[in-house]
Amino acid sequence: MILTLSHFSAAVLFAVFASVVFGITQRSTSREQFRYGLYCFAMFVGGVFVAGWVMWFLRR
């Protein structure tokens, strides 16, 4: 079985799993862990969009 994901879905899945681990390991209380996980996820996905637009401008 070969799993073929689009670039975007692969990046979003990556962001989900990495954010969960970062949230749990980098903060102490449950509330802080949840908030930091969400922050990391937003940064990952935001970074994908920023990098996408930068590459679009470079290609023009």
């Binding site: 899945l13 989900v16 799993f17 969960v20 681990v21």
Partner: protein, 142 residues
């Protein structure tokens, strides 16, 4: 006299800063490396352990399903060695992969490169998870 007094104080401070070496402080990171999240589970951090296990194991399996490249111990090239260090962080998952001969030897299509990165990052995240289990065991983290 003043020097010996300050030296004594600094050695006391060092002793106070050094965490106690308990059985759990050794066992938790070792078990956590072998099975992702298990270092938290044996310390009864059930939710954290299950989430870590789910995240790291799923990431590793997705990497395999995307036909990611599994690095071998005798890569030769420096980047291959770094890739191996990342892969081996997944512990038991990497050992199982080697035993069952899973994973691709060479990248054959575009998304397989994502698979390679998934495998490496799953291992690196497991290193962080094992370090976190150690911090819980020595009381640095609740």
């Amino acid at each position: 006299m003043a020097n010996s007094s300050s030296g004594k104080k600094s050695s006391e401070a060092t002793e106070a800063a050094t965490p106690p070496l308990t059985t759990m402080a050794v066992l938790a990171p070792a078990v956590g490396w072998l099975i992702p999240g298990a270092g938290h589970l044996i310390q009864k951090r059930w939710t954290r352990g299950v989430l870590l296990l789910g995240s790291i194991a799923t990431m590793f399996v997705l990497g395999l399903l995307m036909q990611g490249h599994v690095y071998q111990p005798n890569g030769g090239d420096i980047l291959d060695m770094l890739g191996f260090v990342g892969d081996v962080g997944a512990g038991g998952l990497y050992i199982l992969t080697q035993v069952m001969n899973w994973g691709a030897g060479a990248i054959s299509h575009a998304t397989a490169d994502y698979g390679t990165k998934y495998l490496i990052v799953a291992g690196l995240l497991n290193f962080i998870s094992a370090a976190d289990a150690y911090h819980i065991a020595v009381g640095k983290k609740p």
